[in-house]
């Protein structure tokens, strides 16, 4: 096992509590400015970024609802069409409504939106949907080489990980860290999280200890980082460290992210606290269903994961995985759909999924490394 190096930045980062406090404070101030004048230059764009940060780092999924309000208000205020279309595209993309996002981008483009903004979002959508990946990779490499900025390097690392180029993804993430020239902890915590996910979840043989160290770093830099807490708690639970897993999750419950309730239920079950575990499972189920009723596409894959695990409803898991697959036929979406089909006893559907996956991804190197390739081999 290759150990993760200690990350000790040459200069300290802004304390994670200050950064989170400032994010929340700025977000509220931006909304205040927006309500005073929805057409104020750049204010809606600032809110989109701040709400994205809030959802990504603080696990506040109310961000999606607030962004819907933002779009409604821009419409009511009769805001500039180009601006609104671009914001609509960002909001739709954040909710994984990719087809809608593409339509808005076309509108934004037609109304003269800056080409760089349109292209950047289109790249993200293509990457999320697994479309035009060769072209996306080429564009990502070019952007990263030109800027060497963290915000260009991390998406490149993410794409390389999707393409199962794990070592190169690791190198790119480290390049992002070594070139970092800021004191904000958000970006550094994000890279650490990506490295944790890379080594803990994406590689064929997960290296849990290595992943845990990256997640721990992410939380050290940004204690409010809910997703990092959730992922680290899974590793702790797997290694039998239930007390630390519980301690990680308790402060994150207030975020309202149902994934926290789910993982906490697993931890409590492992501790033999069945009644408490059941309460958390109920909260998770209710939380997921509320989110799915409002933002089906955004949470279909997470919902499928929940229901094929402790959510214990293999049919619902399969249904959600298929929704996700139809929305974005990535290799990972095929893998999830196949696994949930098997779990739900849908053998015929599973076979068809294998064939579709081979048709869509069979010519790629990543498919060869996928569990689906092995399943095809077994079936044949």
């Amino acid at each position: 096992m290759i150990a993760a190096p200690e990350i000790d930045l040459r200069y300290p980062l802004t304390d994670g509590y200050i950064a989170a406090n400032n994010l929340e404070s700025t977000r509220q101030q931006s909304w205040s400015r927006f309500w005073q004048d929805p057409q104020r230059p750049r204010i809606a764009e600032c809110i989109v970024v701040q709400e994205q940060f809030t959802a990504q780092y603080v696990g506040d999924l109310g961000a999606l609802e607030r962004l819907d309000t933002l779009v409604r208000q821009l419409d009511q205020a009769g805001a500039d069409e180009m601006r609104t279309a671009l914001i609509r595209a960002q909001v739709a993309s954040m909710g994984h409504r990719f087809a809608e996002a593409r339509d808005y981008l076309v509108q934004a483009d037609a109304h003269g939106a800056p080409q760089a903004d349109v292209n950047r979002l289109m790249l993200s959508i293509d990457q999320a949907c697994g479309t035009r990946l060769e072209a996306v990779l080429q564009a990502r490499r070019k952007m990263a080489a030109e800027s060497e900025r963290l915000e260009d390097l991390v998406p490149l690392g993410g794409l390389l990980a999707d393409l199962r180029e794990f070592e190169e993804a690791d190198t790119v993430y480290r390049r992002a860290l070594s070139g970092y020239q800021d004191v904000s902890p958000f970006a550094v915590a994000w890279v650490c999280f990506q490295l944790g996910a890379l080594w803990g979840e994406l590689v064929p043989e997960p290296q849990h200890e290595r992943a845990a160290r990256w997640y721990e770093k992410a939380i050290e830099y940004l204690p409010c980082y809910v997703k990092a807490r959730v992922h680290l708690s899974e590793i702790y639970l797997e290694s039998g460290n239930v007390a630390d897993a519980e301690a990680l999750l308790i402060p994150a419950v207030s975020s309202g992210d149902p994934e926290v309730n789910w993982r906490l239920a697993d931890v409590l079950a492992a501790m033999g606290r069945a009644a408490e575990s059941e309460t958390q499972i109920q909260a998770a189920r209710s939380g997921f269903e509320t989110l799915l009723s409002k933002y089906l596409l955004a949470f279909a894959d997470h919902g499928a994961e929940f229901y094929s695990g402790s959510g214990n409803d293999s049919r619902r898991a399969f249904e959600l995985a298929m929704v996700n697959l139809a929305n974005r036929p990535t290799l990972r979406a095929f893998e999830q759909a196949y696994e949930t089909a098997i779990g739900a006893g849908e053998i015929q559907a599973a076979s068809e999924l294998l064939l579709s996956a081979r048709k869509r991804w069979g010519g790629t190197r990543s498919f060869g490394l996928s569990a689906l390739a092995a399943s095809i081999h077994t079936e044949s």
Binding site: P5, E6, I7, D8, L9, R10, Y11, P12, L13, T14, D15, Y17, I18, A19, N21, N22, E24, S25, T26, R27, Q28, Q29, S30, W31, S32, R33, W35, Q36, D37, R40, P41, C46, V49, Q76, R174, L177, S178, G179, Y180, Q181, D182, V183, S184, F186, A187
Partner: protein, 500 residues
């Protein structure tokens, strides 16, 4: 500068973003000088300084090395550096947090203070005084810069984090050695242990004169140019390296040419413009402690020197100086005709008492709620779409005065309280109306919006109220408004049925 959010990088950590720098004679004591830097554009009410950043105001003695088109201000080697560092947040009273700071003075004294303490802190010898905390943003920019169209103040109601340092001019700066100074403010990461990961930037942001980056180096009217703001922000104040000077010189010339032609008239000769560009590239705020500094004296030192004449004022920059209009006029028409933007002052003018920057603006409060009802939008609107409608259980009577927009409704609540509201907007086709509070709520800028939309087989009602509390705490008003909305929606659900 006033360069609010002046580079992609500072957007990542807003307290690193230096927005403004001021230098003026203390209104409280003419023997004192005040240097102030602001950071964190549009800071929220609970904004904090970063504990990882050194906030510094650095002055150097200057000499006028040449005049006219060869105008040059030469900095001396000695630095007068005021540096502030801040702690992490500590638990305070009433579940609020406290942040502490330390000012390092040029003579080595250290001054400890609590952020947002309006009295600030002073050294025992009275030589130095410092305040740090949230204030109303004194900057005002009332133009849409790309098109040079008058607009409202883009920083209206905004707050910033301010650091205000006041000191005894004679004992600190020793004007007998020369009274002209240049000053810059910078944010730089605090040094850590050198290790393998992380490339240390020399600084995050710095400011000399207003809008060096957002209006000149990154003139938004120049299309297809690279954003050089982050590169500029990492340069060293008072010592722009010769290897990058040509790049910035070229950009500055392109920008100044563009500014000159904004009114379709060329008011600058190429030689004079080149001279101005050189002065701008040496980006520090000039002030002379032996001459008067007023709201009008900003940039006079540079202008007179470029005109080949001795300067008359102390230059500097007061909190209330209209720096943008002074700069825009100079760049566009070489002072042929003053160009006044769409605002005459900042949200709140500066004061004559320490810390001179006005108290923070209250944040607009929002209370919003919605309900999905089983009835059609038409049926619901028929009840709640009447400005004088009697459907809310807390309202005992409604009296209307006038008609249409401007109509007043006097609400008598069941507890006897009287509230007067004014209709501002009514659109029956969109099923939306907006009203403001005239009296009875203890608030200012109170606006309510009610709208009904189709949803599923029924309708969705949204009621949103926004206000600034006035004379009573935010939470007290919030409780009243939240109760009003909650009981209103309960009544509507009872009347029309709630969608499940």
């Amino acid at each position: 500068m006033s360069d609010h959010v002046d580079g992609p990088r500072v957007i990542g950590d807003p307290p690193a973003d230096v927005t403004d720098l001021f230098a003026f004679t203390s209104p409280e004591n003419s023997a004192h000088t005040v240097l102030a830097m602001n950071a964190f554009c549009s800071a929220g009410i609970t904004a904090s300084f970063s504990n990882a950043i050194n906030y510094s105001i650095v002055a150097r003695r200057m000499t006028v090395a040449d005049l006219g088109n060869a105008a040059k201000f030469k900095p001396g080697d000695k630095e007068y550096r005021f540096s502030c560092r801040f702690s992490v947040l500590e638990p305070g009273t009433d579940s609020k947090t406290v942040q502490r700071g330390t000012l390092s003075c040029p003579d080595g004294q250290e001054l400890h203070f609590v952020v947002n303490d309006e009295k600030g802190a002073s050294t025992p010898d009275g030589k130095f005084r410092v305040f740090a905390g949230l204030r109303s943003d004194p900057f005002f920019l009332a133009w849409l810069v790309r098109d040079l169209k008058k607009f409202q103040n883009l920083l209206l109601h905004d707050n910033v984090l301010a650091i205000v340092v006041e000191f005894d001019t004679r004992s600190v700066l020793d004007p007998s050695q020369g009274s002209l100074f240049g000053v810059a403010a910078e944010t730089a990461p605090i040094q850590g242990a050198a290790t393998a990961i992380g490339h240390e930037p020399p600084r995050l942001d710095w400011v000399g004169r207003p809008e060096q980056t957002n209006m000149r180096l990154n003139n938004p009217a120049l299309t297809g140019t690279e954003d050089v703001r982050d590169l500029w922000n990492q340069q060293t104040p008072f010592a722009l390296p010769e290897e990058v000077r040509p790049l910035f010189r070229q950009r500055m010339m392109e920008s100044l040419k563009n500014w000159d032609m904004r009114d379709g008239k060329a008011d600058w000769t190429p030689e004079a413009m080149a001279a101005v560009a050189e002065v701008y590239l040496d980006d520090f705020l000039l002030f002379d402690v032996s001459k008067p500094i007023s709201d009008k004296s900003f940039f006079e030192i540079e202008k007179s020197t470029l005109h080949g004449q001795p300067y008359q004022t102390g230059g500097g920059r007061t909190v209330n100086a209209d720096v943008i209009d002074i700069m825009v006029t100079w760049m566009v028409n070489n002072d042929r005709e003053f160009l006044q933007g769409g605002a005459l002052q900042a949200t709140k003018p500066g004061t004559n008492t320490f810390p001179y920057e006005a108290s923070p603006n209250t944040q607009l409060q929002i209370v919003a709620d919605n309900a999905d009802l089983s009835a059609s939008p038409d049926r619901v609107w028929d009840v709640i779409g009447k400005f004088g409608g009697m459907w809310h259980p807390l309202i005992a009577s409604v009296q209307l005065t006038g008609e249409g927009v401007g109509q007043l409704r006097t609400l008598e609540l069941i507890d006897g309280k009287q509230i007067i509201e004014r209709l501002e907007f009514m659109d029956h086709s969109k099923k939306l109306y907006r009203y403001t509070n005239v009296s009875g709520m203890g608030v200012v800028d109170y606006t309510g919006t009610l709208d009904v939309k189709s949803k599923g087989s029924g309708s969705s009602v949204e009621w949103r109220v926004q206000y600034l509390a006035d004379g009573q705490p935010d939470f007290a008003v919030k409780t009243i408004v939240s109760t009003l909305l909650k009981i209103g929606f309960e009544a509507l659900k009872k009347r029309f049925g709630a969608q499940t």
